[in-house]
Every structure is written in C-alpha cells, then in structure tokens.
Amino acid sequence: MSGEYEPESIFEIPVGPQHPALKEPILLHFKIEGDIIVDVIPRPAYTHRGIEKATEARNYIQNIYLCERVCGICSFIHTLVYTQGVERLAEVEPPPRAKYIRVIVSELERIHSHALWLGVAAHELGFDTLFYYIWRDRELVMDLLELITGNRVNYAMSTVGGVRRDITDEVAHQIKKGMKIFRERLDVYTEVVEQEPTLRKRVVDVGKLSPHDAVALCAVGPTLRATGVKRDVRADDPYQAYDEIPFNVATYHTGDVLAQIVVRVLEMYEAANIIDYALDHMPGGPIRVKVPWNIAPNEVISRGEAPRGELFYYFKSNGTEKPERVKIRTPTLANIPAVRQMLLGYHIAEIPIVFASIDPCLSCTARFSFIDVKTGKSWVWDREQLRRYSLKWYGKQ
C-alpha cells in the first residue's frame, strides 16, 4: 500500500450490510484509492419495518408501545416525543410533576446511552480495558432505571397525559447516591480522555468535520456540537420541564472524533446535574391526567433531544382513535450525510471509529467484502478481522 496511485486504481469496497462498528445493518459502498477513502455511498435499507404504516392501524395508546420499539437504546425519548405530540394534538397539558419525571428518566437514558457508546468506541480503538470499566459503571444507571420503571429497556413509563409511575423519596435518594458515584467515575474517564496517549493517537484529527459542513448537511446532536455549534433542542426549543432547569450545552471546537468523545463525557456530567436539580425541585401533585380517546382533526410537530440528536415526530389526527399520519425522523438518518463527509480522505483502518463516532443506531452485524475491481479478486473480512487490521495498521505507525 505504498507508492504512487493511478487514477484508475480506485477500488470499490462494499462494507456491510453486515456491519463494522454497530449492531445494525447498513451498506456503505466505499471507493478507495490505495487505502484512502475517496467516496462513500450509504444505503440504510435493511431494517425497514413499516412502523409509520403500522401506526395508522393502531390507536393512540397502542402506538406508545409501538413507537417505544423504534429504538432499543433510546426507547424512552421515543415515547416522550410521541406522547408529547399526542398531548399537543388533543391540546392537553401534562401535570408539572410528570414533566419533571420525564426529564429525569430521559437524562438517565442519555447517560446510559452515552456510556454505552463510549464503551463501544473504546472497543473499536482496541482499548478494551476502558470498555469493560465503563460498561460496569453503566450498570449503575441501568439499575436506577430498573428501580424507577421496573425495566432495563423499553420502560413503558411515559403515557398520553403524564407518566405511569411516580418517583418516591426513597427512590430519589437512591438516584442521588448513584449520581454521586457516577460523577466520581466520570472524573476518571475525563482523565483518560485528556491524558491517555494511546487513545488520543487514534482520535485526534481523525474524522474531521467543519462547522460549516455540519450545518449545511443538517447534522444533529453531539455530531453537530462536536464542531462547536451550540445547538440543542433542550435549550433552543425547550420541551417538558427543560425551560425551568439550568444547564449548559456542551460543545467542543475541534470537530474530530476526540471532540465527539469530549462532548459526550461533558453531556454525562450535565445530565447528572440536571437529574439532581430536577429531584430537588420536583413539584408535587398528580402524575397523570385523562385524555379523550378520540382526537379531533389537528396536526402538530413534536421535537426532542435524543442521546444521538434531534428526534422529530409529525402527527395528523382525523377525529377517530387512530392517527391519520405519524412521521418519525430519527437522528441517525440526519447524521448519515455528515458521516459520509467525515470519512472522506481517511484510511480504511479508521472506518470503524469514524462511523461509530456518530453513534449510529441502524442495526449491524459483522461482514466486510473487499473487491479489487481491477483483478476481480475478492475477499471477505468479518468485523473482528477488520478491527485487528485496524489495530495492526496503527501498530506500524
């Protein structure tokens, strides 16, 4: 892989649909010159489940549980944005206590999602010690979520008109204790990210994205904030109780994979602070109001900040108990054009970490097929082989 490249020496490499860094399928069709990426064509067509069509055949309550299953990792934010939309459709306001409980659960979910991502990113970099440590600490948050909602995933917490379970004083005490321990652990990870040379070598100046491109390509969430653009739905278009809770929007200026890590670590601190503040200032009263079964013709949009970026729902009702149209836009779709830009000009060895850096939530598996267009020779690598190749390639540098 050295020497001069001829223009016709461009290889085409289909990566996926069984995929490198993720749990879900996408086909990334790479054009490679030497081992430099010159073009990427993404095709996320392998997990279409027809959920938008299915919502039209179910009533508003059944759809909560359907929308919860759009995503396994950020399932709560889906129910939050869904129920918020239906409440706006019916022009019902949820009680204040329910809003605070929703904020607490969604911030706990953000911590668990970011911790999961940080572990996966560390694994992609060959830093498995960090992966094991961070996933151990993530269990702390998972236990708290189980304590509040009764489930580790798919919490069935938010419902139309409020939430289904209250947070008692005892549980609140447990959450605060958990956040104290988690903050101490976060200090350790901050130190690792700031000082560990083996980690920094892999992420500094890799997968760079300029703020201009990030905005033009409509990137969202931590991917956008890692380029220094201070945009967050929680602050810009506050929903639930976010307009009553002070918090900082975490940004970092470098736009590379390091910035993505830093932004997510800072967001975990912020989330812990938001949880503490919300627990201290939680109003009393009921947690749920009644909402009519049939909803008069209306249309609304509903936005929320999922761990990966902005989540968007559009609703149209028609006077019956079933919606006329529900449109869902998940943050990963918004970030695909940006990740394409981030990969250009980098090496094959950097595909796993750069693609993982947007925290994509599509679906994934484990097979890479490499085809040399000139000779017609092809070979297949699974994810582990690609990871090893990437580690070996970096070992030589």
Partner: protein
C-alpha cells in the same frame, strides 16, 4: 413570549418576500411552529427566502401526507432556525405528484427527498440521485407503501407474487 413574535415576524417577512398572494394558508401551532401553505411553483423561492433572508439553517425532515379524499398529496418541509420551525407545505395532484428538488439549496435534504419518493412515489424533479433509500432492493418500483389506498394485505400479496417470479431481497 418572544419566540412567538419572532415567528410571526418571520411569516410576515416571508409573505412580503414571495408575495402575499402565493401564501395560501397560515396556521400556528404553539409553542414555536407554524404551518404555511404556498403555491407549488413558489416553493423554491420560499425555501431559499427562508434559508437566506430569514437565516434559517436546517431542514429537520420532509414529510409526505396522502390526502386521498381531496385527491391530493401534501409535502411538508420542516425548516428551522433551531428554535422556531416553519413547516412549509405544498399540495400537488395525486395522479401526477411532482415537486422541484430543494437539494441545490439545502444539501442535507437529499436523503429526506429519497425517503418521500420511496414511500409516496412523489417525484422530486432535479434530484441528483432519486433512487431507493429505505425499501429493499427487490421492492416493486410502483408500490408506494404509505399511500392510503395501499393496504398491508395488498403489500403482502404483491411481495409474494414477486417472490414467486424469483425476485430476491424482499
């Protein structure tokens, strides 16, 4: 609230910018969203006015809606300056659904246009690469699943037929 007045101002400016007669309907949705119906031939003017003159930065997504009773389709462009959202929409005839692309104004809209094309068969004229995005490779070109006259049963039967013909990947 300050947010709402700035949204009202934005709608006033938009009316002045593209001509008030081209704005057919304005409907506010609290707290910070407005639905604006414009004439199809003024769509691109409206989008570029909102993006350039009003300094809106990004399109959240593009929604297709099948208005089967009116024999029309609706395309909604949710444009935002991150705080306020203008949901700009156009209505087009159902038997010949065509709108101009906005990808030359907003590069980030390309995947959303492809998604709406998949689901409703709406043609975005001038799109650089209007091919399937979310539906599988073997999916029939003329079957648009989110249209109201396509039932789940019909989709099942049609895919079964295609499989018998030997089409793979569905």
């Amino acid at each position: 609230m300050a947010g709402k007045t700035s949204l009202e101002e934005a709608v006033e400016k938009l009316k002045a910018g593209i001509g008030a007669e081209n704005v057919l309907e304005v409907k506010y949705q609290p707290p910070r969203n407005v639905f604006v119906l414009v004439k199809t031939e003024k769509l691109k003017d409206a989008v570029s006015y909102i993006m350039k003159n009003l300094n809106y930065q990004y399109v959240i997504t593009i929604t297709g809606v099948d208005l089967i009773k009116q024999n029309q389709m609706e395309v909604i462009y949710h444009l935002t300056d991150y705080s306020n959202t203008i949901s700009l929409r156009v209505r087009i005839p159902r038997d010949n659904p065509k709108v101009p692309t906005i990808t030359d104004i907003i590069p980030g809209a390309t995947l959303y246009e492809r998604e709406v094309h998949d689901m409703f068969g709406i043609v975005f004229e001038g799109h650089p690469n209007l091919v399937k995005l979310l539906l599988p490779d073997g999916w029939p070109e003329d079957l648009h699943p989110l249209r109201k006259d396509v039932t789940v049963q019909q989709i099942r039967e049609r895919l079964e037929e295609e499989r018998k013909k030997g089409v793979r990947g569905i």
